[in-house]
């Protein structure tokens, strides 16, 4: 019955059959469950936004690129030694969690905010991997409107996407400050920004990174500006289903590997030398363990021993991923801000590889 869950069936049917799919299955140890299924299949199925520059979108060659895409590529590199063995599925914000729960995708890497109720078994029952982008909700307005604060949005219409934390934060913030407003909500980002550009609403609200990213694709990016207010905390990261530690642990440590690599100064350019150096120097215990020269860290996760070098060689460390997609080397030019390594006063921190 698992094959049912792979077909693009109606959401409910998918949920019914998908959840029915694992009936009678044994409780999984590492390497069993979904991870084993992915290995057997030979490709990773990844749910992405697909229309968000910097996070996941198709470049001019039709190839998916972005931070969210690199998460999938890193996991595929760790599993198959080939970052391209990923099948992407574009999901809207309101269908993403159902698609994950029903088994349509193995991993959801779609700039999703970690919250208690999404994490908890009594809520959405999801498993959050480490946050890969610390964000906050912002509000974008046309420069010509002269609006510079939330208060000036009183009585105005604000566009947003259906089924996001954005929608809830908006309601909370405006309710706190007793500012009346009208929300107009759309199913997809495309519709939301199209309506905003057509002047349906005085402002559009989303994660600040998303607003900055979308702004770059506007006809006249300079005509729009972000208000200084930050409405919420939005820690964004990939997600897997609950109760499948094999897959969620593997994903977690794949991401930590990119962060640890940055901290240790290992990049896609010097990985070969670092590996050779580790092999030649038995005293470099940390480096040898991290790169899988000794110990069995990879094996414990159900991954190959050399999963870290594979990842770094194909997608690079966290810093490289950041600057390539949203940072200094990209169009977005987003400041690293909270997303600096903890050594530079940021929040990016990997637990020890031991």
């Amino acid at each position: 019955m698992r094959s049912f869950s792979r077909t693009p069936a109606a959401l409910l049917l998918g949920l019914l059959f998908g959840l029915g799919g694992c009936a009678g299955g044994q409780d999984q140890g590492p390497g069993a469950g979904r991870l084993a299924a992915i290995k057997a299949r030979g490709t990773l199925s990844c749910g992405v936004d697909g229309k968000l520059p910097g996070f996941s979108y198709q470049d001019s060659d039709g190839k998916y690129v972005g931070i969210d895409v690199d998460v999938c590529r890193a996991l595929a590199a760790a599993l198959f030694n080939d970052p391209n063995k990923v099948e992407y599925r574009e999901l809207t914000s309101s269908e993403r969690f159902t698609a994950l729960a029903s088994g349509e995708v193995d991993v959801l890497s779609r700039n999703s905010t970690r919250t208690l109720s999404r994490d908890a078994t009594g809520g959405n029952g999801l498993e959050f991997a480490p946050t890969i982008y610390y964000d906050g909700q912002g509000v974008m307005v046309p420069v010509a409107s002269g609006i510079t604060s939330l208060k000036q949005l009183a009585g105005k219409t604000i566009c947003t996407e259906n089924g996001t934390t954005t929608e809830l934060n908006l309601a909370d913030r405006f309710r706190e400050q007793a500012i009346p407003y009208t929300p107009v909500k759309y199913q997809t980002g495309d519709q939301t920004y199209a309506a905003y550009l057509q002047g349906r609403c005085a402002a559009v609200t989303s994660d600040r990174s998303q607003l900055a990213a979308k702004k770059t694709s506007f006809p006249d990016p300079a005509a729009h500006t972000l208000l200084p207010d930050v409405l919420s905390k939005e820690p964004l990261g990939p997600v897997t289903v609950n109760n499948d530690s094999g897959l969620s642990d593997a994903l977690r440590w794949v991401l930590f590997a990119t962060m640890q690599a940055e901290e240790s100064g290992i990049t896609s350019k010097n990985i070969k030398e670092k590996l050779a150096f580790a092999k030649a120097n038995p005293n470099q215990a940390d480096l040898r363990r991290f790169l899988g020269v000794e110990g069995e860290l990879g094996q414990q996760l159900g991954l190959p021993a050399d999963f870290v070098p594979r990842i770094i060689a194909s997608v690079g460390n966290y810093g490289e991923i950041y600057s390539r997609n949203v940072g200094s080397e990209s169009k977005l030019k987003l400041d690293r801000g909270l997303n600096r390594s903890y050594k530079d006063g940021g929040l990016i921190y990997s637990p020890p590889f031991r």
Partner: protein, 316 residues
């Protein structure tokens, strides 16, 4: 007369086969349900409706039913349902009016009117509704001018801030008073009515065509004008063919209203989508949705069946 053995009694065998198939079906359903139950429990999700009383926390743009973000999910869904009913209610009336006019016009002696009616039906029927809704919303209503240059039609003002009926006045660059429809509602109604009316026009045309030509001629020979002929002679006879066809068009309209979500109108489906996302109660929300749309369509059917009995030919 000897009793027939049961396996040769076609009535008994028939019953047995029916019972066996029924039992098999029940077993399959029971298996699926227990599977679902088992896996939901494993995933730590139990089917429950307790979340309906939790505060929803999101706002809804326009509600007939008073609603605030601090109200419960149940209230939010109810507000969504009322919004759906508003669209369906207004949509049914307008689509019927337009459909009857377009259907009757295809019998007009005026070739221009006839051609117009045929073109309308053929064009509109053959373009997907979703496409039409998106067209009306993004290409027509969202390109309206600002309030101080609102398009003026008799009793109707069209501007970016909304569609105003019954005489709104311009105060400080904003339209006030009158009856305001949001652009989302206006676009949804326009799209739904124009689409459904094309199908209704075909049903009406079929009904009118079913009335023998002799009836027209008889009415004409009595000196009745064409419109009076239609109203007094033809339509009453055509109705008994039209009504059953209308039934399924009305049901379609009610179901199609859920496409509202594509253009930002907060109908039941849109509210349910947010609810599903915030609560993670996919199965419960979808079961509720299906039950509500089924109930809505059954209500329409019951009413239309009543109407059908009313207009059917009485045996004398």
């Amino acid at each position: 007369m000897t009793a027939l053995p049961w396996w040769r009694d076609s009535r008994k065998v028939g019953w047995l086969v029916q019972a066996a198939v029924g039992l098999g079906l029940l077993l399959v359903v029971a298996l699926l349900l227990s599977n679902l139950e088992h896996n939901l429990t494993r995933a730590g999700l139990r089917l429950t409706l307790g979340w309906l009383n939790q505060p929803a926390g999101f706002d809804i743009a326009e509600t007939l039913l008073p609603y605030r973000a601090s109200d419960s999910y149940g209230r939010a869904l109810l507000a969504g349902l009322v919004n759906t009913l508003r669209v369906v209610g207004i949509g049914l009336v307008l689509a019927t009016g337009l459909g009857v006019v377009a259907g009757a016009a295809s019998f007009s002696t005026n070739p221009l009117l006839r051609g117009l009616s045929r073109t309308y039906v053929e064009v509109v029927r053959n373009i997907p509704l979703l496409l039409q809704l998106v067209f009306w919303y993004f290409a027509v209503f969202l390109t309206l001018p600002p309030a101080n240059q609102a398009l003026q039609l008799p009793g109707l003002q069209l501007a970016k801030s909304g569609v105003y009926l019954l005489g709104a006045r311009l105060v400080n660059g904003e339209l006030v008073g009158g009856w305001r429809l949001s652009l989302e509602l206006a676009a949804l109604l326009t799209g739904l009515v124009i689409y459904s009316a094309a199908f209704i026009a075909e049903v009406v045309r079929g009904g009118i065509a079913s009335v023998p030509k002799g009836q027209w001629e008889a009415a004409e020979s009595l000196g009745l004008k064409p419109l009076a002929t239609l109203r007094l002679v033809v339509l009453p006879q055509a109705l008994r063919v039209i009504v059953p066809g209308l039934n399924s068009q009305y049901i379609s309209l009610a179901k199609n209203s859920s496409l509202a979500v594509a253009i930002g109108y907060p109908d039941l489906y849109a509210v349910a989508e947010t609810t599903l996302n915030q609560t993670g109660r996919g199965i419960e929300v979808f079961l509720l949705l299906m039950a509500v749309y089924l109930g809505l369509d059954l209500c329409i059917s019951v009413l239309m069946n009543g109407l059908e009995r009313l207009v059917s030919l009485k045996d004398r």
